[in-house]
Subunit: 234 residues, 2 copies
DNA sequence: CAGTGGTCTAGACCACACA
DNA sequence: GTGTGGTCTAGACCACTGC
């Protein structure tokens, strides 16, 4: 693990364990440099990580301060990207409804940047949060990248399999969010009524070499889902 | 302006003007260092900015590549620039419905971290996109920070006034997103029906010293609004 | 004006991609 | 192995905050 990540983790741990309240000032840079035997740049890089995570904020000429905790019960749009680590915090289970190799529709082919005659894995799942229906998820995986899927992989974590099993690196993602009215089929899955509100999130995940490999459409239960997002800088 | 921002701007300009396509490889670091007479760290910091913005992606051991453009017509949740930049091809106007100094409710006082007897500015606005109602916005400003507001400021840009007119620095923000059903009043404003879907976004904006000064609740017309978000790293 | 965070540099060394 | 991006360092200097 990189040094600045280690430093960040240790500072984070310190804040948690000492239950530092919002506004508490952390030691000045020079102290942190001494404590962690690191250069200024390394400390700053660690602090930038924590700032991005929303734990602290830095004020030039003044100090480094603990930021208040954001509201509980919201899903973090930027850390909960389907990655294993973030899903573990909630009690999320999933049930597979379908797993097939299909020809992509134009929409899917466009988003995955593949030809219409290339096969894709189609996966349909329902996810539950603490036993309640959270969302219906339809995912398409480029079969030339994700060469094999089975029920076990799909029920556990596809992303874990992609990174660990296939040794691929996930680089970045795009997410699109809209609201609309539930169709009859969606309403049945979510135990809601047709015409009720839904939140639809389309995501595209890219390998670190820029190749898109996963296009997903997720329909959320509007009663079970709320999201949050931290902004920094302007 | 800082050097790494300048470098980032120039590279961005270069990509735009040469209409570089997705996957195009940019010059290697050393070339960029020469071209901009900057050190490696400075170039990397510039590239990090562009990566965060979603313009490029960097692959260790391989190169720096242009990322594809994301879909048009979506509002960037992280840009913090209002809608102007994302929807600049559309015609956005806003109408002020109310501007008053009021006592905060508990919800407002909590979010702005002030006492119940401190005054806050209450601003209610409607925003239109191409003549259609986009959203209804209710904002509360801590009056001890935003000491004065009038109709002109509110109709133009409050954030511009806060930064330029009052000389304050905006530091970071929190955003909370949920969906629900429109109330009768909201439906009237948005020219939709009671019970139709709505997307509600609550935002809290903080000065760079950590003081929250703006708490806003925005109710979007579900037919007119869609959002996007770029993820990077893991 | 003292204290503190941020930028910038030059260079050593490391980690990964690709052929 | 070569090329390329990333980490890390030590130190000079800059910019902002607040007494």
């Amino acid at each position: 693990m990189l040094k600045y990540q280690q430093v960040a983790n240790q500072i984070e741990l310190y804040i948690e364990q000492h239950q530092l309240q919002q506004g508490t000032k952390l030691p000045v840079l020079e102290s942190l440099m001494d404590e962690f035997s690191a250069s200024k740049s390394t400390i700053i890089k660690a602090l930038d990580l924590l700032e991005k995570k929303g734990l602290i904020f830095q004020v030039r000429g003044s100090g480094i301060f603990v930021r208040r905790k954001s509201r509980m019960g919201y899903i973090n749009l930027l850390s909960n990207q389907g990655f294993k680590k973030d899903l573990e915090e909630f009690d999320i289970t999933s049930e597979m409804l379908q797993l097939d190799v299909v020809k992509p529709t134009q929409e899917v082919a466009d988003n995955l940047q593949i030809d219409y005659d290339q096969g894709v894995y189609y996966v349909k799942r329902i996810r539950y949060i603490n036993g309640q229906t959270l969302c219906v998820e339809e995912s398409y995986y480029d079969k030339s990248v994700v060469t094999y899927l089975n029920k076990q992989i799909v029920t556990e974590s596809i992303f874990h399999y992609v990174t660990e099993g296939l040794g691929l690196n996930i680089g970045f993602s795009e997410m699109y969010i809209k609201t609309g009215k539930l169709t009859e089929e969606e309403a049945n899955y979510l135990h809601l009524k047709q015409g009720d509100p839904k939140l639809v999130m389309e995501s595209i995940f890219f390998l670190s070499n820029g190749k898109p490999f996963d296009f997903s459409k997720v329909t959320y239960n509007y009663e079970q889902s709320q999201f949050f997002l931290l902004g920094s800088g302007i």
